[in-house]
């Protein structure tokens, strides 16, 4: 099975940046840069995807030094990660030109929260002064759009810099809803951790739970049973369908397609109710747990399949009419273009990447949770890179997800399942793992969330979570948001936002 190489030995701070940049130059995809408190300093981990596996580069930045050489000069996609590390740890990426606060504009003198340090973060104060204006020119002004938006949206501020109609630059400011949720993992039990993961980015609870749990299962050295994996797939694919529908719904809303909006929100609600009938939660929560699942879907497979058939037929029919409605398509075509070259350089993930020529979908390239057991096809990426391409990718994936759910249900009904198979113990009741010791170690778990590749860097010490760092696809992709704008006008904004399909909770943390 494809996977993650063991953690390599730390290299010196001076060579760290060079090594990461060299790997990217040789074709690796940059997945992120993360910090955690370590004895005598902070440990930095860069995660890279090479072929079908993940590799890390690690260094320790001693407390005695001011910071570390920036990666972002050579690797612009590292910039947001460096800003996040600066906000949370006070660790300075030297020579990073744009160190504006991203997730937490701490007031001068406040203590950095340093998640994973073992010390509970003390109350902090923030100082939300506006960021600097980027553009200088005659008649250029800024429109702060948010954080309280016009409509039912998550809070975020987009500072739009415009001479009147065009949008040469947009600055997303996400710190308004920073909840400090990463620190909530610190010191909790392995079992409680999944409840926090489910609430990190609430619209993708199942994907977060799976990514977290696979990391724990790797550390504990347990194998989840086939049946439990199929249950995970059922919930994860339903979550994907609903999230993709939501993105299309937001597009129809922006285009004023009232009937399409009403039809698609109706189907979305039907799916949410179906999910509630499977597990009690409209968001698939409390199903995925370390070692497996809490139980099978609570509908018999025939009822479930019949319910799915009805919903899929209606969705397919309405989406096909929508895709032949010129007044809708015209708003998406050539809007918010991310050129394939840029998507590759940035390592764009999920539908944003696949709308711009990127192939990777970790369900199939680094299979987890039993996806390798189901018949599947990688979806042909689109190369136009516009909002329409991203929507087409989502429509393909909706069809694919229905297919996967059906396969998982079929396979599940063929298995003779023992009650004990739903959940393999990762720890015995007395806190010991099945190997006789409390589980300790570190691992990276992943899942293809509806938004794209989701990573969980997990460190467990003696059965207790020491540090958990989730990296949502929303975080990675939103850094590209501004790049979609130079040629666009204010009325395109809503379509670009909807087609990115980002959850701000997953960005702000």
């Amino acid at each position: 099975m494809n996977g993650h190489e063991d953690t390599p030995a730390a290299v010196s701070v001076d060579t760290f940046s060079e090594r990461v940049v060299a790997r990217v130059a040789r074709g690796a995809r940059f997945c992120g840069l993360f910090a955690s408190a370590d004895s005598g300093g902070n440990r930095l981990t860069a995660v890279l995807a090479e072929g079908n596996s993940l590799r890390s580069e690690v260094t320790v930045v001693p407390d005695t030094t001011e910071g570390f050489p920036t990666l972002s000069t050579e690797l612009p996609s590292a910039s947001w990660y460096e800003r996040e590390i600066h906000d949370l740890f006070g660790l300075k990426p030297l020579d990073n030109a744009s160190l504006d606060p991203l997730v937490l504009p701490l007031k001068a003198g406040s203590k950095y929260p340093c998640p994973g340090s073992g010390e509970p973060a003390s109350p902090i104060e923030i100082d939300p002064t506006p960021s600097r204006t980027r553009l200088l020119g005659e008649g250029v002004f800024t429109i702060p759009y948010g954080p309280v938006r016009s409509g039912v949206f998550e809070s975020v501020e987009y500072v739009v810099e415009t001479p009147g109609e065009d949008i040469p630059y947009v600055v997303p400011r996400v710190f308004y809803k920073h909840r400090g949720i990463e620190a909530r993992f610190d010191g909790t039990s392995v079992d409680d951790g999944v409840l926090v993961a489910e609430r990190y980015e609430g619209v993708a609870s199942v994907a977060h739970a799976i990514a977290y749990c696979t990391a724990i299962e790797t550390i504990a050295g347990v194998e989840v049973k086939e049946a439990a994996n199929f249950v995970r797939i059922v919930h994860a694919e339903l979550e994907r369908i609903v999230n993709h529908l939501e993105s299309v719904v937001r597009n129809t809303e922006a285009a004023g397609q009232a009937v399409a909006y009403a039809r698609l929100t109706l189907h979305k609600e039907r799916l949410q109710r179906l999910r509630a009938r499977l597990c009690g939660s409209r968001f698939g929560r409390s199903v995925v747990v370390p070692g497996g699942v809490t139980g099978p879907p609570r509908l018999d497979s025939n009822t479930l399949l019949a319910g799915l058939d009805g919903i899929e037929k209606d969705i397919r029919s309405d989406l096909s009419l929508l895709m032949s409605t010129p007044s809708f398509i015209d708003r998406l075509r050539a809007t918010g273009v991310i050129p394939p070259d840029l998507a590759r350089q940035h390592g764009a993930v999920g539908p944003v990447g696949r709308g711009s020529g990127q192939v990777e979908d970790v369900r199939f390239t680094r299979p987890y949770s039993g996806y390798q057991l189901l018949g599947h096809q990688l979806i042909e990426p689109r190369i136009d890179g516009d909002a329409l391409a991203r929507q087409r990718v989502r429509l393909d994936e909706i069809a694919g997800a229905f297919h996967l759910v059906r396969q998982a249900i079929d396979r599940l009904s063929e298995l003779a399942v023992d009650d004990a198979d739903w959940r393999v113990p990762v720890e015995l009741a007395n806190g010991e793992s099945i190997s006789g010791k409390s589980i300790s170690g570190e691992a990276i778990g992943w899942a293809e969330a509806p938004q794209g590749e989701l990573l969980y860097l997990v460190t467990v010490d003696d059965g207790v979570l020491k540090r958990v760092k989730p990296r949502s696809a929303s975080f990675h992709n939103l850094a590209l948001f501004s790049a979609a704008f130079p040629k666009e006008v204010l009325t395109d904004f809503a379509f670009i936002e909807a087609s990115f399909g980002v959850s701000i909770a997953g960005v702000a943390g």
Binding site: L104, P147, K177, A183, E201, L266, G280, A505
Partner: protein
């Protein structure tokens, strides 16, 4: 043009709630109920310990104590239900909103009926003018993102709150009701206060979901305010994680006095208030 028959395709899909009870119970976990008088045995203790948000408490002496569960903290993780099904079970009754924080604790605590009546009358007087046309402003004060989906669902054809004269508005200056989700993140404290400030009188505030009521799982977070109840004057609390669309609708109708709450549970509207929730 082809959209016109499409819009008529399924006939009326809209719920009859609140005129009629809605059958939407099936399988949905709206809240946890506690069996009154359930014995406090080892299983019950195990449930207390397993609760990730300390929602369960034992009142009275250890022998013959009583179990209480605070729905304002409960994130519906189902551990207590799995560990001690004799004492805890899920209910699909979504009419669980209340006007007072301690009404979220089940079974009911002893309470002062006079205070309850006073709070209820005060709110009823304040909101009488809002009953036929209510403009709602939603503010996310640090949610996990799922809350917004549930709020937005109120505008889908199944809930279609416009039939009840309820509208979502972009401007707080047009708003009568402030619907707040999220834990009260530090970054949103000022924006939330400003939004409340510029709303015209009379105004009501709903805290939607346990994140907004108590901070949920992030109660002690360094960037959370343990809910929004200390940030704005909250009139109605809607539990849930997130609060479901029906739960929200019940909370909104409760806030404007179209439904009444009694001892922690809502009852059907009286005959005269029923008239004003007729579909238009």
């Amino acid at each position: 043009m082809p959209w016109i028959p499409r819009g008529l395709h399924d006939g009326v899909v809209t719920t009859r709630y609140p005129r009629r009870a809605d059958g939407y119970g099936e399988g949905f976990h709206a809240a946890v109920d506690v069996e009154p008088g359930a014995a406090v045995d080892d299983r019950a203790y195990a449930a207390v310990t397993a609760c990730p948000t300390d929602s369960i408490s034992i009142a009275g002496s250890t022998t013959g104590g009583r179990l209480h569960l605070d729905r304002g903290r409960c994130i519906l993780c189902r551990r207590c239900v799995d560990i001690c099904p004799r004492a805890f079970r899920f209910t699909s009754d979504f009419e669980v909103s209340t006007q007072q924080r301690n009404h979220l604790i089940v079974p009911d605590l002893e309470e002062d009926d006079a205070t309850l009546a006073r709070t209820r009358d005060e709110l009823a007087r304040r909101v009488r003018i809002l009953r036929r046309s209510l403009h709602v402003r939603h503010v996310d004060a640090g949610s996990d993102g799922a809350d917004e989906w549930e709020v937005a669902a109120l505008m889908n054809p199944i809930y279609d709150v416009q039939r009840l004269g309820i509208y979502f508005t972009a401007s707080p200056r047009h708003a009568d009701l402030l619907l707040v989700t999220g834990v009260g993140s530090l970054g949103m404290i000022d924006s939330l206060a400003e939004t409340f400030e510029v709303m015209p009188e009379p105004k009501v505030v709903i805290a939607a979901g346990v994140d907004a009521i108590s901070g949920g799982i992030l109660r002690d977070g360094y960037a959370s305010s343990a809910g929004v109840t200390d940030l704005v004057p909250v009139d109605v609390l809607v539990p849930g994680n997130p609060a479901s669309p029906f739960g929200l609708l019940h909370g909104i109708l409760l806030a404007v006095g179209l439904l009444k709450e009694s001892r922690g549970h809502a009852v059907r509207p009286s005959t005269n208030s029923k008239a004003s929730v007729e579909p238009k």
